[in-house]
């Protein structure tokens, strides 16, 4: 059970106690939901409904567009009142959204439960796609394409991510405590879809209740659920142990190649929340229309984990947790390291909303005045990607793209560790985030130039060959005539 040490990382204050003291709550159904069409990674979905149309709970309302995309389902029954650009919590710019006004009924669209054993693995993947499944850890990568990618590897190792390394977030912890059986069932379905040889569940050692619950569930599993032999790994609580690459390295000892995916080395990571959602979709026919959200921070009256219908407004969720208590310094979606600061609470809960932190000034350590970098090296020691952030900072200031490339800017996972330890209070992560598009553009321009060049040269050679063949033919004719 000993795991190879991850490079760098930080031991952070978890702040998870408060939200895990009370049991999981279920939020009341909202009167209106706002469902962004692009709440998953990849291309936005295309709407299948018209304004004014009546939709049922669980009815598909948008279909995937392109390879990496996902279905979207109505999370309440009612009428589509608008399809328009709305501000969302996960994008800077307003995104296209479907707005549904509830009609008060609880009518659900009929989705038959599926017998997993009678479907072959690829059909199972397609069925999982139809449930609108995406990764619920926060990156919202569509589950089905990930499964299909994973199937291309020779021997697949499914890794369930219950590490939940970011401060404040406890929704996976709560899920593992309360719905361990669902997770195991989901794991068995995912294993079947992947034809996985092995399955590991990673939990950080600051969640003893979750570890116990998972182990108990495994020994008490119902005989007709094919529970795979899940190896529960307890890892030290070091941020970002739950990052996909770090998780794969911890479990398999291998590194995900730069620019590649974990599936390149036969590993597939899924969040425990995703596994539970897959189980509900397969066994009960309920697509992904709700998720557990951690509502915490000193600024909320009753910190807790609450299961929310997707599209509910954040203000509504916070009101159900007792409302604000104090002057809010920042409202975060996600944890304090990688979470997004929201400008407003009039935004919908999306598939990526794992946590809402209502932070009072006491929860935050404000950034002091930025000083020049003194190259102390704290950042490179903390960097889980083994980069040299102090050098990247220097080259980003100089806008030296080749040097940035050489020092691995694109391998930065934006975990925020370097920012956290920087004595000069430099917003390094933001700087790297800003520099990445320029470097990507530079790289793709170079790739395009190489392609164009080979094609131009091939064409030149072909034209020259044709010309010489023509000349040769003419000469031959001349000879035969003369």
């Amino acid at each position: 059970m000993t795991a190879p040490a991850m490079h760098g990382g930080l031991r952070l204050a978890g702040n998870k106690k408060r939200s895990t003291q009370s049991a999981l709550r279920i939020a009341a159904a909202p009167s209106q939901v706002v469902l962004p069409l692009d709440q998953h990674a990849g291309t936005a979905a295309t709407p299948l409904v018209q304004v004014g149309e009546r939709v049922l709970r669980g009815q598909p309302i948008a279909q995937p567009q392109g390879e990496i995309s996902a279905w979207l389902h109505a999370s309440i029954a009612g009428h589509v009142s608008a399809i328009e650009l709305r501000p969302t919590p996960h994008r800077q710019q307003p995104a296209p959204c479907i707005v549904i006004d509830s009609d008060g009924s609880e009518e659900s669209a009929a989705h038959e439960p599926v017998d997993v054993d009678r479907l072959d693995a690829v059909a199972l993947c397609e069925h999982i796609a139809a449930g609108g499944m995406v990764g619920l850890g926060g990156a919202v990568f569509p589950t089905a394409p990930k499964l299909l990618l994973g199937r291309q590897a020779d021997e697949v190792h499914l890794i369930l991510n219950g590490a939940e390394c970011e401060p404040w977030i406890s929704c996976d912890d709560m899920l593992m405590r309360e719905r361990a059986a669902d997770i195991l069932r989901g794991a068995s379905i995912l294993c079947r879809a992947l034809s996985a040889a092995r399955c590991s569940l990673v939990i950080e050692d600051d969640k003893p209740e979750a570890i116990l619950a998972m182990q108990a569930a495994q020994s008490a599993a119902h005989p007709n659920i094919h529970v795979p032999n899940i190896d529960v790994r307890v890892v030290p609580t070091i941020y970002p142990a739950g990052g996909e690459n770090q998780l794969v390295t911890t479990v398999t000892g291998l590194e995900v190649p730069s620019g590649g995916l974990p599936s390149d080395i036969g590993a597939i990571c899924h969040n425990v929340g995703t596994a539970a959602a897959v189980a509900r979709w397969i066994d009960h026919g309920e697509p992904l229309i709700r998720r557990i959200v951690t509502v915490t921070g000193s600024g909320v009256a009753e910190a807790s984990n609450i299961e929310v219908v997707l599209g509910t407004s954040i203000a509504d969720v916070i009101a159900q947790c007792g409302g604000y208590s104090g002057r809010v310094a920042r409202l975060l979606m996600g944890g304090s390291m990688m979470g997004r600061a929201l400008a407003s609470d009039a935004l919908p809960v999306v598939k990526a909303s794992n946590c809402l932190v209502v932070a009072l000034p006491t929860d935050l350590q404000p950034r002091g005045t930025e000083m020049p970098c003194i190259r102390c090296g704290n950042c490179s020691e903390a960097c889980p990607a083994m980069l040299l952030p102090q050098q990247l900072h220097w080259f980003a200031r100089a806008q030296d793209l080749p040097a940035l490339d050489l020092h691995g800017l694109l391998d930065c996972i934006e975990c925020g560790c370097c920012d956290h330890v920087c004595p000069s209070q430099i917003p390094l992560t933001q700087q790297f985030r800003d520099a990445k598009p320029a470097l990507t553009a530079h790289r793709s321009a170079q790739a395009a130039a190489t392609l164009a060049r080979t094609r131009f040269e091939a064409r030149d050679a072909r034209l020259a060959r044709l010309e010489s063949e023509r000349q040769a033919k003419l000469a031959e004719r001349r000879k035969s005539v003369g």
Binding site: A448, A449, L451, A452, R455, F456, R459
Partner: protein, 192 residues
């Protein structure tokens, strides 16, 4: 005294040999009978280095028949560094670095190119299948056959615009790469 002179003569001879060898130039006549001096080894490697810096759009805005011909002209000192609009001022600056010339911005006479590159897009219903654009494309990025509809391979189009002018029915327009899958809209404008 005599010995000293001899030694110095030997040194001079050595120097002369080195000088002759280092010239490394061949002189010959081209087909019109003009003398051309070419520096074979230097040229080949230098042209390669210059070509590496060019954007490979093959758009001929520089007035040469492609990026490599422009590189050749640059290496021989027959062109200036500021003739490549798609490469922009950055490429001009890098060329100046390479060739040891004073940097200068791209001359606007050679054309103006927008920062986000466009690709050619064929309005397929309007295409008559004349193959003129296929012949014009310097990177073989247009597929199709005579009398059949043509289409542009977006990922291989360099945005050189050489196919736009030959089209007899004006069915080729330049568009943003992420909009090529969208249907033609009324807002498309033909600039003269």
């Amino acid at each position: 005294m005599l010995v000293a002179l001899l030694v110095m003569a030997a040194a001079t001879l050595l120097l002369a040999t080195a000088l002759t060898l280092s010239r490394d130039r061949t002189q010959r006549n081209d087909k019109h009978g003009n003398d051309i001096i070419e520096n074979r080894y230097q040229d080949k490697a230098l042209i390669e280095q210059i070509n590496q810096l060019l954007p490979q759009t093959q758009c001929r805005r520089c007035t040469f028949a492609g990026c490599k011909p422009y590189a050749t002209a640059l290496a021989r000192g027959e062109a200036d560094i500021n003739q490549c609009p798609p490469g922009g001022d950055h490429t001009a600056w890098r060329l100046a670095q390479l060739l040891g010339k004073a940097p200068k911005p791209v001359d606007r006479q050679f054309g103006i190119v927008r920062a986000t590159p466009l690709v050619a897009w064929i309005d397929e219903p309007a295409c008559i299948g004349c193959t003129k654009c296929i012949l014009a494309c310097p990177v073989d990025a247009i597929v199709g056959a005579s009398k059949f509809m043509h289409t542009v391979i977006t990922s291989e189009c360099t945005g050189c615009e050489l196919c736009v002018a030959p089209c007899p029915v004006d069915c080729i327009v330049m568009r943003l790469p992420d909009e090529v899958h969208l249907p033609r809209t009324g807002s498309t404008v033909h600039a003269s």
